[in-house]
């Protein structure tokens, strides 16, 4: 600054710059502001010493560590551990409880199981089953009362543990033939079976001859799994064809397509990926969505 520019009006020094005849007054900073600014500078020096701050040679971990040794990574790990251990009692209780009734009998444990179940559901299950467990075409709705492999607490837990058509040795497994794709039935035959199947759940307006032909094919091809009345078989995960729920859609086109291609829905096994109490919590949550069944249905009793 070679010379001082003084504003005539106020007697204050200006910054010396000029924009279209406008000059900026170089008013002093408020003292309180200035002191806070200096205090911040002083504090930053203290901070550099105390906390990780500067890049440093690789020998020093790549950064200055700070004398109080604070590390956010360690803090997070500690927080996570503290959280886990604060939950460990409940998880241990869940592990010990085993049955839904035992969990439900303890309101605190029940609440915990539902909360843990809901949170894990959102993480691992909602991708296929939906955030509200409402399912999608091909992915079962877990709110309703239809359970292909059983809706008791133990059944649900087993399904979670081993999966369906998964790579686990204990997995629940069955396979419906791809009647059309593999050339087992002709398009005409499949349409007849389709009409017959739709008539099982109250569908009307089908051609009588087609229904008879469909019934014959059903008797020879389908009853082994779906039962002679189409009532399904939970031991094989074969759905009841007489109810109002259609996993792969209930329109004629969808049913025809299902018979043609033979669906092969897969659910992964969670054993090994989630620990036992977490699977129990998930089972509790799914069971409590509204469709949970009181007891394990006796084998073969599905067709009543």
């Amino acid at each position: 600054m070679s010379e001082k520019h003084i504003d005539q009006e106020t007697g204050t020094e200006t910054t010396g710059h000029e924009w279209d005849g406008i000059r900026e007054l170089d008013n002093p900073l408020p003292r309180w502001w200035l002191w806070i600014f200096y205090a911040c500078i002083a504090w930053s020096v203290v901070y550099w010493v105390l906390m990780p701050a500067w890049p440093a040679p690789p020998g020093m971990q790549g950064f200055t560590e700070g004398v109080i040794g604070n590390s956010e990574r360690v803090n997070v790990a500690e927080d996570m551990n503290a959280l886990q251990s604060s939950r460990s009692d409940h998880f241990a209780q869940l592990q010990a409880a085993g049955s839904y009734d035992a969990i439900e009998a303890d309101p605190a444990l029940f609440r915990f199981a539902l909360a843990a179940g809901q949170s894990n559901f959102a993480n691992f299950c909602a991708t296929c089953h939906g955030a509200g467990a409402q399912g999608f075409t091909g992915y079962p709705n877990l709110n309703d009362d239809v359970w292909l492999w059983g809706g008791s607490f133990d059944d649900i837990r087993t399904t979670l543990q081993y999966g369906i058509r998964s790579d686990h040795a204990e997995t629940r497994y069955s396979q419906m033939p791809a009647f059309g794709a593999d050339g087992l039935l002709s398009r005409e035959e499949i349409r007849n079976v389709r009409d017959y199947v739709l008539s099982l759940s109250g569908g009307t307006g089908f051609d009588a001859a087609a229904l008879n032909a469909g019934a014959e094919i059903f008797a020879s091809q389908c009853v082994s799994c779906h039962g002679d009345q189409g009532q399904g078989d939970r031991t094989q995960g074969a759905p009841n064809l007489t109810d109002a729920i259609w996993l792969y859609g209930g329109s004629p086109e969808q049913v025809e397509n299902t018979i043609w291609r033979g669906p092969f829905g897969v659910m992964p096994a969670w054993e090994g990926r989630l620990n036992d109490p977490t699977i129990t919590a998930l089972a509790t949550y799914v069971y409590s969505l509204g469709g949970g069944e009181a007891e394990t249905a006796p084998e073969g009793a599905a067709g009543e």
Binding site: N27, P28, P30, R31, E104, P107, F110, G130, A131, G132, A133, Q134, N141, N143, D144, D145, V146, N240, D243, A244, I245, S288, G290, G291
Partner: protein
């Protein structure tokens, strides 16, 4: 220059104070360093009123946490308690839950309206008498006077070189300030947890960290604001002086210098006539008494907190020179002008703004009282599941899930009966509830309990996609009922 002034006498027995108001608007510059103010002790009715009010305010502040109020076993018995842990606010018979935060808003609205009303009538009496900043500053100045003497001694002491005498007075003053500040912070935390329990744990380090934190903050701010910052808080930090300009008008009472009586001012010699001159002898007693460092004779100013100490100072002088008191007094702008024109003063307290404030205050107060007296001990809220909206069951029936929230505000565990009115053939189930108990549920004292309720409607009863559902909840042995209305959704008739 100063030696000459020292000998100035305003009137027999009344020396002139060699002083200029440090916060005089005409002299003050934007970037000036703060000049210390040494308010001189005055005696009089306003000073007495202020001492009394200070005793009352401080007494209430320190005593209220120890007041007890019986609320039964399940609730704390402290009369005034902000219980963050239990999420409750207790104020004698009033008990506010987080869901009822609007009562706090109501209290704040009433406080604001009361402030407006009082400002419209009497000017800044809040600033002058009741504001914590004023009360604590007044107290701190009294402590300062105790150690360092009155105005002149304090000025002399500050100018003097460091000595043992100066040191012990300064150290003593700051120590007592710190003790008071600590007591202020200490009392503050008593409002947030049982006072006796806090006292018994605080000194052994057994209180939560937040207690020590707020104790520290309040101690620091009290010491800083009342001890060292004082009038700067009112002038630079507080928004109220700016707002109050809109709240008062020319009919509001303000501390004012009666120009009509005082001017022309000047020293008065013994035996001189009072004719053709004002009563103001320019002794500046009002200036040295002012804790804000202004000259009230300049008219009403933003800096004036209207503490009325200049009234006492001036009245004292007027008595000495045998003139009527009230040269500085509570007055209205309109009357100052009227007197100047030789008209009689008029006082209009019933003005439109006063009525608007008073009526608004009455309405807000009535709503609060109505709300608090009819406040239900029970509240019910039903939320329908949105994801999925409804569940189709295998037999064609449709199920909806609801979360029914029952709030039991009483201090005892209660049983509630739920009645459900909805579509025909409706079936219900409460998750986690034994079927034998039916629709009777338990809610512990002072708790909000959620119940998962599933309603299933058979296929035949589903006529439209949206049917109304009404939950009616009533406590056992009481006729009180609360209802929650919601809907039953389905895909429509099939």
């Amino acid at each position: 220059m100063s030696t000459a002034r020292h000998n100035l006498i305003s009137a027999p027995g009344v020396p002139t104070h060699d002083v200029e108001a440090v916060n005089d608007a005409k002299r003050r510059e934007l970037y000036k360093k703060r000049e210390p103010i040494y308010p001189k002790l005055v005696h009089g009715k306003f000073r007495f009123a202020k001492w009394m009010f200070m005793a009352l305010a401080l007494g209430a502040y320190y005593f209220i946490p120890f007041l007890r109020w019986d609320r039964g076993l399940s609730a704390p018995d402290q009369a005034v308690l902000v219980d963050f842990e239990g999420r409750r606010f207790y104020f004698f018979f009033i008990e506010i839950w987080p869901q009822e935060i609007y009562y706090i808003s109501g209290l704040l609205i009433m406080a604001a309206l009361l402030l407006f009303l009082v400002s419209a009538l009497f000017g800044r009496v809040w600033c002058g008498y009741a504001c914590p900043q004023t009360v604590w500053t007044d107290l701190f100045i009294a402590i300062e006077r105790l150690f360092e003497g009155d105005r002149n001694k304090r000025i002399k002491l500050d100018r003097a070189k460091w000595s043992f005498n100066k040191a012990w007075r300064k150290i003593g003053k700051h120590s007592v300030w710190l003790v008071i500040a600590a007591a202020t912070g200490g009392a503050w935390i008593l409002y947030f947890h049982d006072a006796f329990d806090t006292l018994s744990h605080f000194f052994t380090g057994g209180s939560p960290i937040s207690a020590y934190l707020f104790f520290g903050i309040l101690t620091f701010t009290t010491y800083m604001l009342a001890g060292t910052m004082r009038e700067q808080v009112c002038i630079y930090m507080c928004p109220w002086p700016r707002i109050q300009a809109a709240m008062t008008d020319r009919d509001a009472l303000n501390v004012a210098y009666r120009v009509d009586r005082g001017e022309p001012r000047g020293a008065h010699k013994k035996g001189e006539s009072w004719d053709a001159r004002g009563d103001c002898i320019d002794c500046k007693a009002c200036v040295v008494a002012c804790p804000m460092g202004i000259d009230i004779r300049e008219g009403s100013q933003l800096e004036c907190i209207q503490c009325a100490l200049c009234i006492d100072a001036c009245d004292d002088i007027m008595k000495k020179v045998d003139r009527p008191t009230g040269l500085i007094s509570y007055d209205t702008d309109i009357n100052i002008d009227r007197r100047r024109e030789g008209l009689k003063p008029i006082y209009r307290f019933l003005r439109p703004r006063v009525l608007v404030y008073a009526i608004s205050l009455a309405i807000a107060g009535s709503i609060m009282v109505f709300g608090l007296t009819t406040r239900a001990s029970l509240d019910v809220n039903a939320t329908r599941d949105r994801n999925p909206n409804f569940v189709q069951l295998s037999d064609g029936s449709v199920r909806n899930g609801y979360t029914l929230k029952i709030i039991n505000r009483t201090h005892e565990d209660r049983e509630y009966t739920i009645r459900i009115d909805g579509p025909e053939g409706l079936e219900w189930r409460i998750l986690g509830q034994e079927e034998t108990r039916g629709l009777i549920v338990d809610v512990p004292a002072e708790r909000t309990q959620d119940f998962r309720i599933f309603l299933t409607v058979p296929r035949e009863a589903i006529t439209v996609t949206n049917q109304s559902v009404l939950f009616t909840v009533s406590p056992e042995g009481s006729e009180e009922t609360r209802t929650a209305e919601t809907v039953f959704l389905s895909g429509g008739s099939q």
